[in-house]
Symmetry: C2
Subunit: 260 residues, 2 copies
């Protein structure tokens, strides 16, 4: 039995792809998928046996919820062109303010899943933190109902908080992954395998999950081991950008420990 | 039954603390612990029911193996003062060259456990990668035997490789943990809990363990989403150092994707 909600999903990228799956698993009906690119949009619609349109004026005007899951820069464009009769409209962006909807729609808000999505990779959806926001208490209740059907981890935040959480996520996820890439590249140059670092990466993460990151800090900069830091900087002499980055972050760690 | 080896452990910090436990679990006898600081050295010696000295000239001269597990800057000092009759001497540093032993000892090498150690936290020791090196094939065989009693993950590397692995580990572990701290601090300012990021951190790590980090990169910089990056930089206006760091790394990610 599907839930009574009738949902239009706008987008077919990583977030839309996983949202479609989440909605399906929660027995929520996707009545239509819109995407400007026909190929990927149609594929997603076929997968969930639902209608597809790439013409924004053909979007069903009487759905209960419209979820805009597109790149941030395309959100305003969709808002400008979309006309609906009733229902709630949300976007899924970490950074775009709720005011982007103001003056154009009656009931609107945010449904932001705080996770890193790759199309092929399955996730435990009910653990994903959903950050929600709305322009009225009636609408927040509605969005909360939907979010709670998908996940056990729903938090009401304002746009300022959400933006800050997104920045924190960039540091904790995107930048962290970039550092794994740097490590991988460094090892590659000496024909060494990234596998060597995996126990260390697992342990670093385990510690961060179990106790406060500041208390877990180890390494040359934490020990103010300038001897090692200088040797590392020397070794990185042929890789000026990585060398500079190593220097900046080491200095920041040294400073943050001195000020404690 | 303990193994035939007779080992002197020099140091009582995080690495020495865990090495003592690893040796014990592998039934290798620690015959003596040396440490310049009496309190922590004695504590460790008592825990393993062995002799303690804080006088370097009282160190047993006929052990099979001397493990120097102290801060890098103290390694040379110990080497200068220590006299032994026979046996193999190693240090546990990622960065200190093997040549530090040259001219002073006959059989020497490296036993470097590539892991982040905190005294209280238990680890699965037999997964820890040990990077070993020695000045002769006889000595590498001996160190290899010891390392293989402790861990299933022993790799023979030269000093250049080891230094590079250490730098890679600084990026993948120390800097990563520092970024978790930055994220924690940012959330703290808005009374938000770091727990919010944990599913994301877990998933980022899971991806890095299972596939190539470069292929997992997500986020505003990866998407060249300058709009979001600029909003984030604006939000960080009151935190110039973090703002600068955010800018530098975002630029590097954008550049590294353009050049692919």
């Amino acid at each position: 039995m599907t839930n009574k909600y009738n949902i239009v999903l706008l987008g077919s990228g990583n977030v839309a792809f996983h949202l479609a799956e989440m909605l399906k698993l929660s027995d929520i009906n996707i009545s239509q998928i819109y995407n400007i690119n026909e190929k990927s949009g149609k594929e997603l619609a076929q997968k969930y046996n639902t209608n597809f349109t790439n013409n924004i004026s053909n979007i069903n005007k009487d759905a209960d919820l419209y979820i805009i899951a597109v790149k941030d820069i395309f959100i305003e464009n969709i808002i400008d062109k979309l006309t609906i009769n009733k229902g709630v409209i949300v976007h899924t962006s970490g950074t775009t303010d709720i005011n982007v909807f103001a003056g154009k729609f009656e009931n609107y808000g945010i449904l932001y899943p705080l996770q890193t999505f790759t199309k092929e990779i399955k996730l435990n959806y009910n653990e994903i933190p959903f950050l929600i926001e709305a322009n009225s208490s009636k609408t927040i209740d509605f969005i909360n109902n939907i979010a709670c059907l998908i996940s056990n981890n729903v938090t009401n935040t304002n746009s300022e908080q959400r933006k800050l959480i997104h920045i924190a996520a960039v540091f904790a996820c995107n930048f962290t992954n970039y550092f794994y890439s740097i490590a991988d590249d460094l090892l590659d140059k000496q024909n060494l395998n990234f596998d060597l670092l995996k126990p260390l990466i697992k342990e670093t993460t385990r510690k961060a999950i179990e106790s406060k990151p500041k208390e877990n800090q180890t390494g040359p900069a934490k020990r103010k081991d300038l001897n090692t830091i200088n040797k590392h900087l020397e070794t990185l002499e042929n890789n000026k950008e990585i060398q500079k980055l190593y220097g900046i972050i080491s200095e920041m760690i040294i400073k943050s420990n001195s000020s404690v």
